[in-house]
Symmetry: C2
Subunit: 287 residues, 2 copies
């Protein structure tokens, strides 16, 4: 192993010596026969300008920042061409928290990205609201249909689902809303990361890091992913053990679940009928 | 437990019913006798405008985004008043990765924040470069000296150290540079999160999540932190086991460490003499 073969983060961004070797392996693994390999993307598409596999992270108002930054930190590096995509290049505010909101800057617009190798959609507390964003969902549907990998973290899977990209696939989401994936024709799976053909979905928020490492190994190789894990010092030792419904006490689970249900009722009272309408559009019988 | 007592993220931002109870407990735990409690901050300081404990995350060009967003996602919520602070309110670009950089928007300027309850500094791949940013370090020193909690993630501890805030404290940092904390008069500790009096420091990048949960429990209570862990679904299952020097294979460790040393030599050739000069300024004998 060459000591320069790692792209470091927090510990330095190094040029990987042999970048060319990454792309064919990455795309062969995920692509169905019809999908274009990175080096065969039509000239003029955003993804082809650098010659590297292109990753498009979707930004949107109200997304959960850590859903995005977890995998972005794992996947961003010399071997990929990464964009953060939104309607325009104005600041996008992540989820509102108290009186302050974190603003993130897009690097490309939906109009600029006609194709990508890896599509990744982060989640949000209120996934039902996103289902009304038909322009974003249309773009996700169009780009996702020809992407080599179609991925999400947390409730980003709702956006993939609404775009019709999870029909017939196993997928996951945040535990609080996982079962609603059935409305999109997906098979909900209780797991931190779910990989079914060229779909890779992560569970709630922090699972984006586990998701990112698995996806990186699929796009490159296991040793590269292990190296990135070491760079990111991902040897987690949570001070408490309550990070999933099966670990939390019944009282804690009820408090968090109940609080979320109250919240959803307040912000998305029509979520059930929205989902039913979407399912109907996708030709899915009411689950 | 009231079901509304949780501030959700990805699963909704709920108003915590009894916010007032948080501040005194939080600040009693961390403050030395001289430090002001949140409710006694002088009028006119940024921190006092909302009546909630104030958290100041320092933004700076070249920082590692996940160092910031990990703890920010854990700590941001209805019970705190959170700012992201930089010289001005123009976009700040996180670490450069290939040809794209993620831009983050500050919510406050150094000049606007005269005092904070909780200071948190994220890290970067090139912590030695930050040591030249005397204006930022002077602000960190001034604010940190009167903060209730002085904290960092990853190599953010170098900035605290350069500001003289770790002298005589146990602290941690990314494994790749941990031992250099001695130059600041700190005692380097190999641990994911280190809590010594009112200093709390996290190790590399992803440790910011463990750090955030521990800090949240210190600022509020264990049950609140457990609830946030469940909301963020922090039940990590890394697909590989190579997240620390003791877990990585010798070949992987050598490759990553060697690559970083090459990188540092390229970007910070004078780091050793810089550290020696700082140590001398802080009255610390060359470690």
């Amino acid at each position: 192993m060459n000591r320069r073969d790692f792209t470091l983060s927090c510990l330095g961004t190094l040029a990987a010596a042999s970048l060319g070797g990454v792309a064919p392996q990455a795309l062969a693994a995920g692509a169905s026969g019809q999908r274009p390999a990175a080096n065969s993307l039509p000239a003029g598409t955003k993804a082809s300008t650098s010659g590297k596999p292109h990753i498009a992270f979707v930004l949107y108002e109200g997304m959960t920042a850590l859903d995005l930054i977890g995998p972005a930190e794992v996947l961003a590096g010399e071997q990929f061409d990464v964009d953060f995509v939104w309607y325009d290049k104005e600041v996008v505010y992540a989820e509102s928290r108290a009186n302050k909101r974190l603003g993130l800057m897009p690097t490309a617009t939906f109009a600029e990205i006609e194709q990508t190798n890896i599509l990744c959609v982060p989640g949000t507390s209120n996934p039902y609201k996103q289902l009304e964003r038909t322009e974003m969902i249309d773009w996700v549907a169009r780009i996702g249909a020809k992407a080599d990998w179609v991925t999400s973290v947390c409730t980003g899977s709702f956006i993939l689902g609404a775009a019709g990209l999870l029909k017939g696939y196993k997928a996951t989401s945040h535990w609080g809303v996982l079962q609603d994936l059935r409305y999109f024709g997906a098979e909900p799976v209780v797991d931190r990361v779910v990989h079914d053909r060229n779909r890779v979905t992560g569970a709630g928020v922090t699972s984006g890091i586990d998701f990112g490492l698995l996806l990186l190994s699929l796009l490159t190789d296991e040793q590269t992913a292990r190296g990135k894990q070491l760079v990111l010092e991902y040897d987690p030792h949570p001070p408490f053990s309550s990070g999933s419904p099966k670990l939390a006490s019944p009282a804690l689970l009820e408090a968090v679940r109940g609080g979320y249900m109250d919240y959803l009722q307040a912000v998305a009272p029509n979520s059930r009928s929205q989902l039913q309408a979407l399912a109907s559009n996708l030709g899915i019988k009411h689950p």
